[in-house]
């Protein structure tokens, strides 16, 4: 895959440059693809209605074989395989919409399908050579082979660069000998195809030996691949999660994926891609549970009124709706960027993942709250969606790590200007993301613009709020960099605020663009609900942005750190009332 040539909207935002041409007009799916997508969705909906019993899947901790087999036959394993290899080559937008549907119907199933195609065989699609693709993609697409993505190890979770699995190259016999173990691998117990990241010794250009990560395509039939027992999990119980052991596995050298030593970049780029599917699945789950809760609150009477008449309930319904709308706007703006090609979207997909998994978690919890004690009961789906949704904030990059990535990658653009800091900033990010330099070059040629293009008058307040706070993000990022210098890499509380501010700003522009395009299409009157949501969301968002940015300069971070150090030292809560 070539390095993307156009810069990221959000990275430029940190630098005070508003690349509005990237986000206007709001992307729209072509009619033909939209029709295909609808038919695929209809097929899945019908199939699910007749065959998928999520309560049973959760209860038995297993998706029935017949369900998986039927889904294979119907073609749902080949969504991201290009057509020439027997798949359906969906665009990022259509793919994400499919995962929204899967995530709503059954999160265990969504993750099984996602581990297979969002991450399991995605590296092969992105980096495989012709022979590798020809050999494996048709079987992966038909579901004859199921795939898993093997990065995490007991000693290397967030710090994935610290993996210990080792590949030793034996040129004489044309193989790598692979040894090591991976932990918590989705589809670990049912997959036959594994994208494995391992270290190998490489001699660099200075003639020195260095351990570097490479990626390998491993199949169970190579021998020496075994799976541990199924983990007993809080949620996603129907999905398979196991350890996977590699013991003297002979991996043919032709199964090396991409270049030697470039495995880490491959691993990270696959996750960049996968995060949109996960974001889609998260909001899909919330949409479904909201529907369930709405059914209850419009029937249930207390105090001689239906619950839906009470203001505190209305607030919940409205907030969930606004958060869904804003997050959905971010997700499909980003998938549109992916589909337009040649745009750096690593920051945006990270922001979508963080925001979607969190509004989903909060929203699912509020749905449970709205139905009262009933939500706590096993025979209702609320507890299951909540359990299933919890992991989303942890895997495919924890939300902490993704916030660091967002902030540091954002300010790194500015750091470029201050040469030394720029280089220093790159170090920590290397541990969990891939950075590119080109955008800084690109941005240098642009004068900072403080205004975005005109939008419909009903959105003008939102537009000004965005412009004002976009400028302030730039100033705050700049100040944080000046004050902290290289140490900014340790100031995670500041990073978090910058990341959250940038995410809110990206959400604002996504909503403004979406609603503006909608007004152009349907007219102001028909877009009344959307205009209302845009107004409310942007008002809520700029206040959060303001708070976060004020706290970049004025905060209790020192006191908080000190306290935490003390408590950790004490090993417990030491105070008594």
């Amino acid at each position: 895959m070539s390095d993307k040539t156009k810069p990221s909207f959000s990275k430029a935002l940190f630098s005070g440059v508003l690349l509005d041409e990237l986000v206007f007009p709001y992307p729209e799916m072509e009619a033909e693809e939209a029709e295909d997508l609808k038919m695929m969705q209809d097929t899945f909906k019908k199939f699910a209605e007749d065959n998928i019993d999520s309560e049973k899947i959760d209860e038995n901790s297993k998706i029935p074989d017949e369900v998986l087999n039927s889904l294979k036959e119907l073609g749902f394993m080949g969504l991201s395989v290009p057509e020439e290899y027997g798949g359906f080559g969906l665009s990022a937008t259509a793919y994400t919409k499919m995962f929204e549907l899967f995530g709503g119907v059954d999160p265990s199933l969504a993750i099984t399908l996602g581990a297979h195609q969002s991450i399991g065989y995605k590296a092969l699609v992105l980096y495989g050579n012709e022979a590798q693709k020809k050999k494996y993609l048709p079987k992966l697409s038909s579901g004859e082979m199921l795939a898993a993505y093997c990065l995490t190890e007991p000693g290397a979770g967030s710090d994935a660069a610290g993996i210990q699995t080792r590949a030793i190259r034996d040129d004489k016999n044309g193989v790598y000998i692979l040894n090591g173990s991976k932990i918590w691998i989705t589809n670990g117990g049912i997959a036959d195809f594994f994208t494995v990241f391992a270290k190998e010794e490489i001699i660099d250009k200075n003639g020195e030996k260095k351990d570097k990560i490479s990626a390998f395509l491993v199949t169970r039939d190579m021998g020496g691949v075994t799976s541990g027992k199924e983990e007993n999990k809080l949620g996603l119980k129907g999905s398979s999660t196991t350890e996977v052991f590699f013991e003297d596995v002979k991996v043919p050298i032709e199964n090396l994926l991409g270049e030697r030593g470039k495995g880490f970049k491959i691993a990270m780029n696959v996750l960049n891609n996968g995060r949109l599917g996960l974001a889609g699945g998260s909001i899909g789950a919330l949409k479904v549970l909201l529907k369930e809760a709405l059914g209850h609150i419009s029937q249930r009477k207390q105090f001689k009124k239906t619950l839906s008449e009470f203001e505190m309930i209305k607030e919940k319904v409205a907030q969930i709706t606004i958060d869904l709308f804003a997050t959905e706007s971010m997700i499909y703006l980003t998938s549109g960027l992916v589909d337009s090609g040649e745009v750096d979207y690593s920051l945006e997909s990270a922001m979508c993942k963080v925001r979607a998994t969190e509004i989903s978690w909060i929203g699912l919890n509020e749905c449970l709250q709205m139905v009262g004690g009933l939500g706590f009961m096993k025979e209702y789906p609320y507890q299951r969606y909540l359990r299933d949704g919890r992991i989303n904030m942890i895997f495919e990059g924890t939300n902490e790590i993704l916030r660091m990535f967002t902030a540091l990658a954002g300010i790194q653009e500015r750091g470029q200007v201050l040469r030394k800091i720029g280089t220093a900033l790159k170090e920590p990010i290397k541990g969990y993301g891939v950075l590119t330099d080109y955008a800084a070059e690109w941005i240098k040629g642009r004068i900072s613009t403080e205004r975005i293009q005109d939008v419909h008058k009903s959105l003008s307040t939102a537009k000004v709020q965005f412009e004002t706070w976009a400028k302030n993000l730039h100033f705050s990022a700049e100040r944080a960099l000046m004050h902290n210098g290289k140490k900014i890499i340790y100031r995670e509380m500041i990073q978090k605020r910058l990341a959250d501010a940038a995410t809110d700003l990206y959400a604002m522009i996504a909503v403004i663009s979406r609603v503006d395009s909608l007004i152009t299409k349907k007219g102001e009157e028909k877009a009344a609900n959307e205009i209302n949501m845009c107004t409310i969301f942007c008002d809520q968002a700029w206040r959060r942005v303001r708070r976060n940015l004020l706290m970049v300069d004025s905060n209790n971070d020192k006191g908080m750190s000190k306290l935490s150090d003390f408590i950790v030292e004490e090993k417990k809560y030491p105070f008594e009332a």
């Binding site: 038919m39 695929m40 097929t43 019908k46 119907l74």
Partner: protein, 248 residues
Amino acid sequence: MNIAVCIKQTPDTETRIKLTEAKTVDESDINFILNPYDEFAVEEALKLREKFDGEVTVISLGPDRVNSAIRSALAMGADKAVRIKAENIPTDPNVTAGALATELQKGNYDLIFLGKQAIDDDHAQMPALLGAKLGIPAISVVVKLEVEGDKLTAEREIDGAHEIIECSLPAVIGAQRGLNEPRYASLKGIMKAKKIQINEIDAELSADQLQVVEFNYPPEKSPGKIVGDSADAVPELLRLLHEEAKVI
């Protein structure tokens, strides 16, 4: 075996129909689907094709949007498609039947399937009208079908019994739920369907003899009532079902 399936595009059963000020149906937000009974018709045609070989042609009448219902049938596995172009789907089933019959006569079909009724206007007249216009037997509300040589045996649901009817081909069959389990359109089928050209033809429609004067919303249902939530409530529930709702 040469088989035709006449299909109709209808609103999704979950659609909340909105009326315009002129009391016509507002189509702008409707999710249209293939009429569910027509799915049984398509499935039965496909099964017979798999058994006897041949071809399945789907025929539909209506505006451009109808093509998506046609694609659904093609994605299930039908071979060919014809759309009789019309600005609207006529109110009067007789008009549609006339145009369909004209098209069907060109095809020399051994069997003509359709759903026993469309879930939107619920006329349930099409099987009979087509049989009459084509001068061939028509059997509707069919739950089981067997074809042998140039004869068929159909089982129909009637109140409290099943009626078994024989006739010779060609014939018109109106499919009822239970006739089969319609297959899901596979992703391969969907991609394949895209490549099939829908043969769009112009037709002279006869004049509508029926006219919808206006649509009205059904009277609002009174809200449900919760009688209680333990076994103690059962007698009261029984009393209400008997005396108020009068259903038992």
